[in-house]
């Protein structure tokens, strides 16, 4: 997947749709079959009419859609065999922290217009599109972290964000210094003071 247009052109690739919008948090109803592919720190893009909101998964939730959950005392495969459509009665939700937007072909790490309910949401997981997200204008830019932190991302969410993208960053080991300096700059702008503790985490999860 090398272009935003290509990603957004097939609605079957949508992993969910906008369920609610409140401030900088966008709640996404995740289609059950895509739920396992969404992680804390995943980059998500909303196919709105004009600018396309982009953000990072901040929370994942899974609950019964109607009433209370009834205990079944079965293994997962037994449940799938017995109730093949059970997930239609479940609710898979991801909260996305709105951090950036796509305008034309350009990623800008500032929020823009809000999406509407039912706008389709896509998972950004191809390397070439992630490069465009992390390096808009060909320079590493982690300023989206300011919104992520502001919407509630703590050390643990940030740790998971890097863990989730560890393979992506491992391809850029030669640019490690630049990545570290940009991340630290973004963190200090986010108001995080224990940079040392945080850097220890990054080093640990990225194996740097």
């Amino acid at each position: 997947m090398s272009s935003w247009g290509e990603l957004l052109s097939e609605k079957r690739r949508a992993i969910g749709e906008v369920a609610s919008v409140e401030g900088g948090k966008i709640e996404i109803f995740v289609y059950p079959e895509f739920y396992p592919r969404v992680h804390i720190g995943s980059v998500l893009i909303v196919d709105s009419e004009e600018t396309k909101p982009i953000g990072l998964a901040l929370k994942l939730a899974h609950s019964a859609r109607h009433g209370q959950m009834v205990p079944l005392h079965r293994t997962r495969s037994e449940i799938s065999d017995m109730y093949p459509d059970i997930e239609k009665y479940h609710r898979f939700v991801s909260t996305m922290a709105y951090t950036s937007h796509l305008r034309g072909d350009e990623i800008i790490h500032v929020r823009s217009s809000m999406p509407k309910l039912h706008d389709l949401v896509f998972l950004v997981d191809s390397k070439s599109l992630l490069v465009r997200f992390f390096k808009p204008k060909d320079i590493w830019d982690f300023s989206f972290m300011r919104y992520y932190v502001a919407e509630g991302a703590s050390y643990l969410e940030l740790r998971e964000f890097f863990y989730h993208h560890r393979e992506f960053f491992s391809d850029f080991l030669s640019e490690k210094d630049e990545i570290v300096s940009r991340v630290v700059y973004a963190l200090i702008k986010s108001g995080i003071r224990d940079i040392a503790g945080f850097l220890e985490d990054i080093n640990e999860v990225l194996g740097w």
Partner: protein, 522 residues
């Protein structure tokens, strides 16, 4: 008004005239470019200011940096991280003392504070020239280049006409360049005087009297290793300076005039000033007036010789013509040929002094160095020196001590004799209503010998400093220990040239009378 196109080096953020102006340096500037003592300009809303950097420093979130240093982050990553946010976690500041402020064509001592967020810019060549003026090869002569952050080399001039209006001082530790500057100033004053005389032959002339301890005004300036580096000012302008020396050999070799002194011209006050240098006791000093009375009774004008005279001293005096003349005079005066006997006579007369006799016997041997100096019993050089100084047709005088450069007593004797005679002659002229034809600037090295806390009241230089300003006699006080000068003297100095000083008292003394002294101490 000078146009400003210079980049801002920082912004004024707080401060006051009394406590100094605080500036935060722009993020793309390097603090190492801002040395103490450097000159910068401040662009206020109404005025622009010339200011000097008196302190610089850093502030950082040291807890943050500390936790980074002790963390398990690899050193390289840590360094990268800290460098990436250095502007967010640290700030660099300057403290300035305001020197001057200007608006349109008027520059004056700063009496306002620049507005908040005023720009600090590099003091350009035009800026510095605007505040300090430009050399005009008459009154204004370049004296050096101020330090600036980016090392703009602009010479600034000293206004010689204003400088010589009042006494001034040159202070600094040994080897810092006091004599070098003294030569430069003496040269500028001499040239200014020559040009002025050419323009107006009836104008009051300026004469310099330079006590040249190490012969660096009359012969050559030397570096700290003793190697000659430039000709002294009196050597360059030999037609304008009459060079004296008490050193016979130097006089012969380099064509200087031999300076002779006659101990008969010394007063008891001179002896009181000089004697402590020989290490005599306070008791001896307390009896000086009594000794003088008795010695004058016995030896008349030759009374000073009475302190040291005996057969041993006589045998040394026999070796020179001047010495033999003195012995003859003493023999005539006393009617005796044996000098031990004369000594006995004197000590017998001292019996009436009780403890004074004991002190006389034990202390006078300490004064025997007097026979090593270039004495005469005839006409001394003092009158000739003073006449040159006070006459419109005379010359400036340099007294070069040659081999006696470490002989503080001789320096004090010569200086005191000249100072007293000079004062007497000028007061005499003044009383008679005669025209004071010259302004005299006395360059006094090791000035604490004459203007110290204990000597100031007794020394003729003290009287000159106190009384002679209106009669046109000024002092150029040169010293490495200004803290030992009487505070009255230092407060009479209107311009001070201060080189490196490290002793707290010396720094305090050198800065007396300067408004911003709290900030210049650093």
């Amino acid at each position: 008004m000078v146009k400003h196109i210079k980049k801002s080096l920082g912004k004024v953020v707080s401060g006051s005239i009394n406590s100094g102006i605080k500036v935060i340096i722009e993020r793309d500037e390097i603090i190492e470019d801002f040395p103490l003592g450097a000159i910068v300009s401040v662009l206020g809303k109404k005025y622009r200011y010339l200011a000097m950097i008196t302190d610089t420093g850093l502030e950082s979130q040291s807890d943050f940096v500390g936790s980074m240093i002790v963390s398990r982050i690899p050193v390289h990553t840590r360094d990268i991280s800290i460098n990436s946010i250095r502007d967010q976690i640290s700030k660099r500041w300057l403290e300035l003392v305001l020197i001057s402020q200007a608006s349109n064509e008027n520059a004056k001592t700063a009496d306002t504070t620049p507005s908040f967020y005023s720009d600090i810019i590099e003091a350009t060549e035009d800026e510095i020239k605007y505040f300090f003026g430009v050399e005009d090869s008459f009154k204004k002569w370049n004296i050096g280049a101020p330090k600036t952050p980016k090392e703009v080399k602009v010479e600034i001039p000293i206004d010689v006409e204003k400088l010589v209006e009042l006494s001034f001082g040159i202070f600094g530790k040994s080897g810092t360049g006091k004599t070098f500057l003294g030569n430069i100033l003496a040269g500028y004053i001499a040239v200014y005087d020559a040009i002025k005389a050419n323009k107006d032959p009836q104008a009051q002339r300026i004469r310099l009297l330079i006590f040249d301890m190490h012969s660096e005004y009359s012969l050559e300036l030397r570096d700290n290793m003793g190697n000659p580096i430039a000709r002294g000012i009196a050597n360059i302008f030999s037609d304008r300076f009459k060079r004296y020396t008490p050193d016979v050999e130097l006089a012969d070799k380099r064509g200087l005039h031999l300076l002779k002194i006659n101990y008969s011209e010394l007063t008891v006050d001179d002896i009181r000033l000089i004697a402590p240098v020989f290490g005599v006791t306070t008791t001896f000093l307390n009896y000086l007036y009594d000794y003088e009375k008795i010695l004058k009774r016995k030896l008349g004008d030759l009374w000073v010789w009475g302190f040291i005279l005996d057969n041993n001293v006589a045998s040394k005096l026999e070796k020179t013509e001047e010495g033999r003349r003195i012995l003859n005079e003493i023999q005539k005066q006393t009617g005796k040929n044996d000098f031990d006997e004369i000594r006995k006579d004197i000590t017998s007369a001292m019996k009436e002094l009780g403890a004074g006799l004991h002190s006389f016997r034990s202390q006078t041997s300490k004064l025997k160095a007097l026979i090593n100096y270039p004495f005469t019993c005839g006409k001394s050089s003092i009158d000739d020196i003073v006449d040159n100084l006070i006459s419109r047709d005379g010359q400036s005088i340099v007294i070069s001590f040659g081999k006696y450069e470490k002989e503080t007593p001789l320096y004090m004797i010569i200086a005191n004799l000249i100072a007293r005679r000079l004062r007497e002659k000028i007061i005499d002229k003044s009383v008679k209503g005669e025209e004071i034809e010259t302004k005299i600037i006395i360059f006094l090295e090791e000035a604490h010998n004459f203007l110290g806390k204990t000597t100031y009241r007794q020394s003729p230089f003290g009287a000159i400093a106190r009384e002679m300003r209106k009669k046109g006699v000024m002092l150029c006080v040169i010293d490495q220990k200004p803290g030992e000068l009487d505070s009255d003297v230092v407060s009479m100095l209107w311009t001070n040239f201060i080189f490196t000083l490290t002793d707290k008292n010396d720094i305090e003394a050198a800065l007396i009378g300067i408004l911003e002294r709290n900030y210049l101490r650093r």
